[in-house]
């Protein structure tokens, strides 16, 4: 098993995507097939941008096993008022700064759900949000 751990700073758009980029390099080295790699890093990148856009700080924990990749993002931040609303395409609470970067269209969480085999979101208002994303390798669902 390979484990990776990254810190993410809220508001740091210059470095948003660094962790996703590093994970992509590792998956390439491990010969994970390109389509699976794309699904994993697209969902991770969406989630990483969400932490930068909405939270104060966060941590990304990646576990690469022989049969699955488990990624957990734990952030300290305002949390999500309604996860049901946040899961609707087009719903967004992003700031103008986030929109200037090309995000904040309310497509992030639905796209994460589309690109992962299992996806769980747990949020407490005023505390933070934890996201768990699982992708099975070799169609081993």
């Amino acid at each position: 098993m390979v484990t990776l751990d990254y810190k993410v700073e809220g508001g740091d758009f210059t470095n948003a995507g660094y962790a996703s980029s590093e994970v992509k390099k590792v998956l390439k080295k491990l010969n994970v097939d390109p389509k699976t790699t794309r699904r994993v890093v697209v969902s991770l990148y969406e989630a990483e941008v969400n932490v930068v856009a909405h939270a104060y700080r966060g941590e990304i924990l990646v576990e690469i096993n022989i049969d699955k990749i488990v990624i957990k993002l734990v952030d300290e931040g305002p949390g999500i008022q309604s996860v049901d609303d946040a899961m609707q395409e087009g719903f967004s609470t992003a700031t103008p700064e986030v929109r200037q970067m090309g995000f904040g269209a309310g497509m992030g969480l639905p796209n994460i759900a589309k690109n992962t085999d299992k996806f769980n979101i747990d949020s407490e208002v005023g505390v933070g949000t934890t996201l768990e994303m699982i992708t099975y390798l070799n169609n081993n669902k």
Partner: protein, 114 residues
């Protein structure tokens, strides 16, 4: 379509400096919305955009987009060029607007995705 043909058709300038001769492009998407670009699941894809910031390159990296044409004379920052060179993503800067770039490339056989 190879990169040098895209440079000619867009009256553009390739500003990344790695050898891009092996890259072939079949599909294009024109968007300033990176969330939209992240829904792509095609190979050999290019992006035509008016958005010139570091997240444009990160989005291309995650989506396996190998060529970005930046429209309307917007300039790439040194950080964007460095990251694109590292990631094997070609940046072409063009004076033309997204509408014209899309039309010219579509007319020469670059296909739409959606």
């Amino acid at each position: 379509m190879n990169i040098s043909t895209i440079v000619d058709l867009t009256s553009g300038k390739e500003i990344t400096n790695f050898d891009s001769s092996e890259i072939k492009i079949d599909f294009a998407m024109a968007s300033d919305l990176m969330s939209d670009v992240l829904t792509l699941d095609t190979e050999n894809t290019m992006l035509i955009t008016g958005l010139a910031n570091i997240q444009t390159i990160r989005t291309a990296e995650m989506s396996d987009v190998h060529c970005i044409v930046i429209a309307r004379n917007k300039r790439s920052t040194p950080e964007m060029i460095e990251l694109a060179n590292e990631s094997g993503i070609v940046i072409i800067e063009s004076q033309h607007a997204m509408y014209k770039l899309s039309g010219v490339l579509y007319n020469k056989g670059i296909k739409e995705i959606y």
